[in-house]
């Protein structure tokens, strides 16, 4: 562990490689986190099934490529398929827990997460899956820094998707209805907004974002049935750090998390990378709480 840490500082190109690759992967986290922030802000639900939606999106692309389609086409298809899946999940379960106690929605989405995770395991097998987008890699600094083109593309696409969504929320009619509902659902209803439909569309949009993130994840990285919960926790962490209504913050925090996680995986060893993600989340919550507590009694 210490050796890796020393290596990290003694050999800067290596550190650059680890951090840049982490940043690029972080764009995928940011995309999923943006969806979580949307659902959190509008439906007031912490969507624990978030990561499974990402994984499902990845499987859609994987299956498409298996049947001979070009990988990059997987991205829009995954998004569209997951949009429908999200809409179905909302109609089946989520709409029943929207107004309930927050713990009920957490537990219900947690149940969904176990359900989808195990279904994926049965249907697609527990193997680690990846898709080769056949784009090659970019070599920098004499070959010490290797960046797969698909990661760079994923990074760009994630930013574009975030920007499109932001514009949609600002300017489209439905986007404005979503923002109105987020601010005050009762007032929105009085003004004639069908909040139930807004909730359904928001949840479906979130699923589409997750689908896109999953499609990028399977091309730039790997997926397997049990990798969902880490995505949920990453999204949660990013939203907690950045705040629910802060697009730029979510993107920055997502990228930062990607870099941090990749560096931690390198230093502590890959077997501790997931442990690091979860422990970091706990640490962030504790730190946040300690800060709030200090604010309440500034002299103590």
């Amino acid at each position: 562990m210490l050796d890796n840490l020393l290596l990290f500082f003694q050999y800067p190109p290596l550190a650059i490689d680890v951090i840049l690759n982490g940043l690029l992967i972080g764009a995928i986290f940011a995309l999923a986190a943006y969806g979580m922030a949307l659902v959190w802000g509008v439906l007031n639900i912490v969507n624990v099934v978030q990561g499974e939606l990402v994984v499902l999106g990845g499987y859609v692309t994987f299956l498409l490529v298996q049947s001979g389609m070009p990988p990059l086409l997987g991205l829009p298809v995954s998004a569209v398929v997951m949009f429908c899946v999200g809409w179905l999940i909302y109609r089946a379960v989520i709409f029943r827990v929207v107004d309930k106690d927050i713990f009920i929605s957490i537990l219900a989405t947690f149940g969904l997460s176990i359900l989808i995770q195990q279904l994926a395991n049965l249907l697609f097998g527990s193997e680690v899956r990846t898709v080769d987008a056949e784009l090659g890699s970019l070599h920098l600094l004499g070959g010490t820094v290797t960046l797969a083109w698909i990661k760079i593309l994923a990074f760009g696409l994630a930013l574009v998707a975030g920007a499109v969504l932001w514009l949609f929320l600002r300017h489209a009619r439905l986007g404005q209805a979503i923002r109105a509902t987020a601010q005050n659902p009762r007032a929105a209803r009085i003004l004639g907004i069908d909040t139930d439909r807004v909730y359904a569309m928001t949840y479906a949009l979130n699923a589409a974002l997750c689908g896109a993130a999953g499609s990028l994840a399977v091309m730039a990285w790997t997926i397997h049935p049990y990798v969902g919960l880490p995505y949920t926790v990453r999204s949660f962490m990013v939203v907690v750090v950045a705040g629910v209504g802060n697009v730029a913050g979510v993107i920055a925090a997502g990228l930062g998390l990607g870099a941090l996680e990749n560096a931690a995986g390198f230093i502590f060893g890959v077997e501790f990378q997931i442990a690091f993600v979860f422990a970091l989340m706990v640490a962030i919550l504790v730190w946040r709480n300690a800060r709030a507590a200090r604010k309440r009694s500034h002299l103590q």
Partner: protein, 247 residues
Amino acid sequence: MSALLEVRGVTKRFGGVVANESVSLRVEKGEIAGLIGPNGSGKTTLFGCITGTHAVDGGDILFEGQPIAHLRTAPIARRGLIRTWQQTRIYDDMTCAENMAISAREAHGGLVALLRPVPAATTRRGDDLLAFVGLHEKRAERAGRLSFGQQKLLEFAMALMNEPKLLLLDEPTAGINPTLINGLIDRLRRANTELGVTLLVIEHNMRVIMNLAHRITCLAHGRVLSEGTPDEIRDDRRVLDAYLGAA
């Protein structure tokens, strides 16, 4: 008389909004003090500062001569300074009797003291106080089931159960059936005279506060506008202007 509570130049800001600016106020032992002011004048914020919910940005708060501005809510409460809320706060899913039992002063003790059943004397005192506010027949009912007015009375009884030296009441008559208000004023007075509790009351109902309080402080825009006996306040031109929005 000696000051039980002394607020000295307390300032509290929320972001750029100054909710309290250099507010000073004294509550003497044994009196009923009133706090009035138009909506948004900083009365409830001042309560929050005194009881430790808000960290003050400046000034001192002394309770029985000891500084308390740095303490959190629970230690302040244990010194005998209890408040009630405008939107009442009670323990919804517990019965009225349980609400009373856990509000007793003994519950402040350490863990060992908590690991005993509620003493019969505490239960009796709880019942007496419930009877005092007229809720005795509701003692076995879930507190969340009571009407708003009844919940308000329960909260008042719970506060008395805590044997406070000073009780801060935030609009005790708001939302209460007007025909019951006289009874409530009577009970507040009896809590003051018979149980020896000093009161600081926020009240919007002028008839109530003029009847009840010995001395009144009026806030406007976060500052102390005027202070005096009910008669002096009634005749103060500035107070009227503040309420009519001219100030």
